[in-house]
């Protein structure tokens, strides 16, 4: 391999950090969804990288499952956002705080 495992893992850690940053800062629901996608991709990258260096097929398998599950998750998440949008005409998560205390 031309590249080292560490490098891939570091890229993945960077993406994980960015994703968590996005989730704890952004207020727009769709943007938060972006952040989640970034975190999931970071994990997938990690998985495939480890799988390549072992080498073992499990990494790719999990990545495949993870991608498919992310698709399902995003479908449900988006529909929730659409319901929220119909109700409030707004998708600012920080404004949804009737439940508190």
């Amino acid at each position: 391999m031309a590249n080292e495992l560490t490098e891939f893992v570091l890229v993945s850690v960077a993406l994980l950090g960015i994703g968590i940053y996005g989730l704890s800062v952004k207020r727009n629901a769709i943007r938060m969804l972006f952040a989640i996608e970034i975190v999931i991709n970071a994990a997938n990258l990690n998985m495939v990288a480890f799988g390549r260096f072992l080498p073992h097929s499990g990494g790719q398998t999990l990545a495949l499952f993870s991608i498919a599950i992310a698709a399902a998750e995003v479908a449900v998440g988006l529909s929730l956002i659409i319901v929220a949008y119909r109700m409030y005409h707004n998708i600012d998560i920080a404004d949804f705080r009737s439940l508190k205390g």
Binding site: S24, I30, A35, G58, A72
Partner: protein, 170 residues
């Protein structure tokens, strides 16, 4: 050492990830997200996993990103370009991100992970298929159930019918 392709992909992936979150317009943001997802697919190719890379492109770039793009276009124009943020929250968030990266990076660099190298050839993707059918087959069934559940759930939620009159008519 990392080669040029790796460096370029890293820059594209991380850069467009930041752009996806920071660009003012949600539309450009989702296009930048496609960049990140594509970059990850590139990494997969670098890691000799073309099958996953194709899947990534097909599912993510092809469907998820498009789905998001459509949703973005569904909502009002003002919302697409409005970007309200609490500056203080942002600084704290950036601090958290940096601490996160430094801490996790330090742990990873500190560990013996550097010694893991391999000269063996990559896994043949036919092996993945084998795995699926012999070892992971219950998981595949569950995967099917997940998709069916997600689709019915999402459809019910997103439906508009008889929303207004409220009560279900028996």
């Amino acid at each position: 050492m990392a080669d040029a392709a790796f460096l370029a992909l890293s820059v594209i992936t991380i850069g467009s990830a930041i752009a996806a979150l920071e660009l003012r317009s949600l539309v450009y943001g989702s296009i930048a997200l496609m960049g990140t997802l594509g970059g990850i697919a590139g990494f997969f190719i670098l890691l000799d996993s073309p099958f996953v890379a194709m899947f990534q492109l097909a599912v993510y770039v092809g469907s998820i990103a498009v789905l998001i793009l459509f949703t973005v276009m569904l909502v009002k124009r003002e919302l697409i370009f409005k970007k309200v943020e609490d500056k203080r929250r942002k600084f704290v968030g950036i601090a958290l991100m940096l601490v996160f990266m430094v801490a996790l990076g330090a742990v990873i660099l500190d560990s013996g992970i550097k010694q893991i190298t391999t000269d063996e050839p990559a896994v043949d993707f036919r092996e993945i298929g084998d795995d699926f059918l012999t070892y992971y087959w219950p998981a595949l069934i569950l995967m099917g159930l997940i998709l069916s559940g997600a689709v019915t759930g999402a459809l019910v939620l997103a439906r508009r019918v008889d929303e207004e009159n409220g009560q279900r008519v028996n």
